[in-house]
């Protein structure tokens, strides 16, 4: 039973190894694997060592000028440029700035955006759990412990749905923000008891609050059964307060470890102008854990339950705040949250992470300052987080910062798919769905699969590694050329306008379509050269031939695996 908690997604659907489903589209072995001696192989492939004197330590930003605003919008505020969405954007104003402002206002009100295509793909996929309320999730799934697949169906379907949303939804900014907040308040989706309740966490906690008020958000998150299970608070009682959740609220959700003062007495933490400590200590963690005792779950319904007989009713002191004994239900925690929500250190920590997600790994200080100011000035507003996002997106820094952020694997793959005329839905039983699911998992960046509460790392150093790149490329390249029984889940050939015939035209079209910017001439030339294969790049190609079509698919794969497509 215990071991199940650590079961990984692939246990739910036994993975087919690359190649078993898709024949020739296997790993490189099929084509490159049969050459005789190792020496001959080394010569054939001109092997170079990984160690060749390069010892880069800190990764610098990319060179090159800042791309047009729409390129930034579709790589940072969306999962990638879908042509229809780009057209919509371009129709929203006379200048790039005007378009951004208008587009942003619509995106910040996602419910008003018609989402027909996503709705269609979702309904074609026939999921069973995404409409269920908490009680049904609890009763139908959490309590079903023998049939593991059915027990975990809610997280499994949520993961499929997030692929469809990121790919097809026109509410792209909402999707980017949902991903951010899922990571900020991370719950490992395959936790044995969080998994069955994950539909509720995604829909009623994260998506409900992500443009709302931070103070409300942290309370809803704290009372969310998926979180109560994940970080152990559901059984924390006066007899045995569990520090796990209390620590992570302070360290990961609010103050951040940069405001952690360790084991010093809480009274010795420096104080701000309002005489409140600037950070927290181990003592604060223990005291806050006492406040949280009794925040639990009703075994009969799966919903939040405050067990006052488990609550530590004594006086407490958290962050310099004296909490008297015998307060009414929930109030100990609410008092701490009231305080946390107005701390400058909290605003700064949260806003730094948001700016890191939406702008750059090392966001400009001036931008973090401005976002924090908006955060603090609107702590009592129901649209506080929406205002913060607006301030970040409309800042000069957003438009002027470039080259300090890369697409992580999920973002790279979905971005690629969005540009290639996708026509797939993802019914659970379909071979294609199982295949995509497994390959996304191997990238190390499938949403909701990060076990620790930190959420996926958001810095390029972590993702510019051999496994992350090779697995991202593998899936992207596969989708560019994949045909299954006459059906193509993505079809770059069909997506190419009919009039384009020469290698140069085709390369330029796909570079613009996927990047919305121009690229360095040597890179452009490498792509044209691939498409031309030694012939005149301006000559007409026979796009009726299977060979040329496959070459075009390979060229699109190449563009989507290119260094340029990684930057965002």
């Amino acid at each position: 039973m215990n071991t199940r908690l650590y079961d990984r997604p692939w246990r739910a659907t036994p993975p087919e190894r690359l190649g078993e489903l898709i024949g020739d589209h296997t790993s490189s072995k099929t084509l490159r694997g049969f050459f005789g001696s190792v020496a001959a192989l080394e010569e054939r492939f001109n092997l170079t060592p990984l160690r060749d004197g390069k010892t880069a330590v800190n990764l610098p930003a990319a060179n090159g000028e800042t791309p047009p605003l729409e390129s930034l919008v579709f790589s940072r505020l969306a999962f990638g440029p879908r042509p229809a969405d780009v057209d919509t954007f371009r129709g929203m104003g006379a200048t790039p700035r005007e378009r951004l402002e208008n587009w942003l206002e619509v995106q910040l009100d996602p419910e008003t955006i018609a989402d027909d295509e996503f709705d269609t793909r979702l309904s074609q996929s026939n999921y069973l759990t995404l409409e269920k309320n908490l009680f049904d999730l609890w009763n139908d799934h959490a309590r079903e412990e023998e049939d593991f697949d059915y027990h975990m169906l809610p997280i499994y379907e949520t993961q499929h749905a997030v692929i469809l949303r990121a790919t097809y939804s026109r509410r792209q900014l909402a999707e980017v923000l949902a991903d951010f907040w899922h990571n900020h308040f991370n719950v490992f989706g395959w936790h044995f008891f969080s998994g069955p309740l994950f539909v509720h966490y995604d829909r009623d906690v994260i998506r409900t609050n992500m443009l709302g008020n931070f103070r409300q958000f942290i309370e809803d998150m704290t009372a969310a059964p998926a979180m109560l299970f994940y970080l152990d608070n559901f059984f924390s009682s006066a007899d045995g307060p569990n520090e796990n959740f209390a620590r992570e609220v302070l360290e990961l959700h609010t103050f951040g470890e940069e405001n952690y003062y360790g084991a010093i007495p809480a009274s010795e933490v420096p104080r701000g102008t309002d005489d409140v400590p600037l950070g927290y200590t181990d003592e604060d963690v223990r005291e806050f854990a006492r406040c949280l005792t009794g925040w639990s779950i009703d075994e009969n319904t799966g919903s939040f339950l405050y067990r006052d007989y488990w609550h530590d009713d004594g006086p407490k002191s958290v962050l310099g705040l004296d909490i008297p004994a015998g307060q009414q239900a929930l109030k100990d925690v609410q008092d701490v949250f009231d305080l946390l929500a107005t701390r400058p250190g909290v605003a700064r920590f949260v806003c730094t992470k948001l700016c890191r997600r939406l702008v750059a790994d090392n966001p400009p200080e001036s931008l973090v300052d401005a976002a924090s100011e908006v955060f603090l000035a609107n702590t009592d507003q129901s649209d506080q987080l929406e205002r913060v996002v607006r301030a970040i997106v409309l800042s000069d820094e957003f438009a002027e910062t470039w080259g300090d952020k890369v697409r992580r694997p999920f973002e790279l793959v979905i971005g690629a798919v969005r540009s290639m005329n996708p026509t797939f839905s993802l019914p659970l039983a379909a071979d294609f769905s199982r295949y995509v699911f497994w390959l996304l998992y191997t990238t190390g960046h499938f949403p909701y699969t990060w076990p620790p509460p930190t959420g996926f790392p958001d810095r390029k150093e972590i993702w510019l590694t051999t496994n992350a790149l090779v697995t991202s490329w593998r899936l992207t390249n596969l989708l560019a050329g994949l045909e299954l029984d006459g059906w193509r889940p993505c079809d770059p050939v069909a997506a190419t306008p009919v009039g384009l015939r020469s290698a140069a035209e085709l390369a330029d079209y796909w570079i613009d379509r996927t990047l919305l910017r121009s690229i360095d001439e040597p890179s452009r030339q490498a792509i044209i050269d691939f498409m031309a294969q030694g012939k005149n790049p301006d000559a007409q190609l026979n796009l009726g031939s299977r060979v040329i079509k496959d070459r075009l698919r390979s060229m699109v794969g190449l563009v989507l695996m290119s260094p340029e497509f990684h930057w965002r």
């Binding site: 650590y6 084509l31 490159r32 694997g33 045995g240 952690y260 593998r474 050329g481 490498a526 190449l558």
Partner: protein
């Protein structure tokens, strides 16, 4: 079943270390030509060292039993501690390590850690893996800085560093010469239309060599790694010496590490990450408990790994270090688990290890505990790793690998030539450091 019963746990990411004592094997002497291989096993979540290497006699045994009414490893009956020496035992689920200990191929270093009070997983892991306790700004991992500063490594190595798994650990942060892979048989991107795979591969190389941005550098290294793996990895791996790897993540990570090391591609450091050690609740004491399952997977994986590489003639080049971010509180909590603690044993395994128990044991008396509740740190983790760096890997540049670390002296946990650290200051004729 009642979900409120103590049979589950929440997120766990953690670590553990084991130890043993006994007689040292005869030393194989120093190699120091840079051909030794260090395998760093990181147990994420904070491994409960007190249950892995429990005290079995004396006043500390009494403290331990009183502090852990449900979690203690018993001295007799089923699930009894295995014997290391008169003072310490080994968790019974680590039985596969006992032969290694008895042969003098396993060392346990008591009470290792940092003199930094953090009880945050993530902060502690950052400090340990970056190699700079209290500082997180250095931007590179200590293993990467070892590779960058070692003077005895060939200037060219096909694959200097391996991370077995999906993600490259922070100890190798910043390294573009690391091969990170979960499955060498699936490592490639030639998944497009078959007819154009070779041409596309060549075009990828052209694209990625056209500039020197971080993406270009990482991409070029990735393409190279694909070529190397494609060339050398042929078919499913057959472990040597009859070694059997478990059919789980732990077994898979050790197996992939052994497979890649055995290809003789120049790997000098390799990492294996094992999660699941954050045992806040329902830790279990008996052989069927959760912690026991973790220990068994780890121990069996380590034993298979050493058996496999020994059979391939690589045993004398191999040192395995097992560490975790911190130990756990002496006293168990109300949920039959343990909360974050401080010091924890480190394990070293290999033919050049000086078997047995090492380092001062701080004691469990309340007056001896860190902040009155946790095992005190008596050995800086950098002291142990520095000894491996100098004696086994031949790298004396502690100033580069562990900047800010001073006062190194060897504990005697591995065999090898004991040279002083060297900070790169000018030499005079004869190679001696200027006074």
């Amino acid at each position: 079943m009642n979900i409120f019963s103590p049979t589950r746990r929440g997120f766990i990411q953690g670590g553990l270390a084991t130890a043993a004592l006994g007689f040292a094997r005869p030393s194989f002497g120093a190699i120091q030509d840079g051909s030794d291989i260090l395998v760093l096993v990181f147990l994420r979540g904070g491994m409960d060292g007190l249950d892995l290497i429990p005290p079995v006699s004396g006043p500390d045994r009494a403290v331990y039993e009183a502090a852990r009414p449900t979690l203690k490893v018993p001295l007799s009956g089923s699930g009894a501690a295995l014997t290391l020496d008169g003072a310490f035992g080994l968790h019974p689920a680590a039985a596969s390590l006992l032969p290694l200990f008895d042969q003098g191929r396993m060392a346990v270093v008591h009470a290792t850690g940092m003199h930094n009070p953090t009880r945050s997983h993530f902060e502690a892991q950052d400090f340990l893996e970056l190699g700079t306790p209290g500082e997180k700004t250095i931007g590179s991992g200590w293993l990467h800085r070892h590779l960058a500063s070692a003077a005895n490594l060939p200037s060219q190595i096909l694959i200097p560093a391996l991370a077995s798994g999906n993600l490259q650990p922070l100890a190798l942060l910043g390294s573009s010469e690391t091969l990170t892979l979960a499955n060498p048989n699936d490592f490639g991107f030639a998944t497009g239309p078959q007819q154009w795979q070779n041409e596309q591969h060549d075009a990828m190389r052209n694209l990625y060599t056209s500039d020197s941005s971080p993406v270009h550098v990482a991409g070029t290294q990735t393409i190279t790694a694909v070529d190397i793996v494609d060339t050398y990895v042929t078919g499913e791996y057959q472990p040597g010496g009859g070694a059997i790897y478990g059919d789980d993540d732990v077994g898979s990570h050790f197996k992939v590490a052994a497979q890649m090391i055995s290809l003789d591609l120049g790997i000098r450091v390799a990492t294996v990450d094992i999660g699941g050690w954050d045992t806040h609740e329902s830790q279990g004491s008996g052989p069927g408990g959760f912690f026991a399952g973790q220990v068994k997977a780890l121990s069996d994986g380590l034993a298979a790994f050493l058996t496999d590489l020994e059979a391939r003639g690589l045993g004398d080049r191999l040192t395995v270090a097992v560490m975790t971010e911190f130990g756990r509180r002496v006293e168990e909590n109300a949920d039959q688990g343990t909360d974050h603690g401080h010091a924890v044993p480190m394990l070293l395994l290999g033919n050049n290890v000086v078997g047995g128990l090492h380092g001062p044991w701080p004691g469990l008396d309340p007056g001896q505990l860190f902040e009155g509740v946790d095992l005190e740190v008596t050995t800086d983790f950098r002291q142990v790793l520095s000894e491996v760096l100098i004696k086994r890997l031949g790298n004396r540049r502690l100033d580069k690998v562990f900047p800010g670390y001073e006062g190194y002296s060897p504990l005697g946990v591995v065999a090898g030539l004991d040279l002083p650290p060297y900070d790169g200051s000018p030499l005079r004729a004869g190679g001696r450091k200027m006074p």
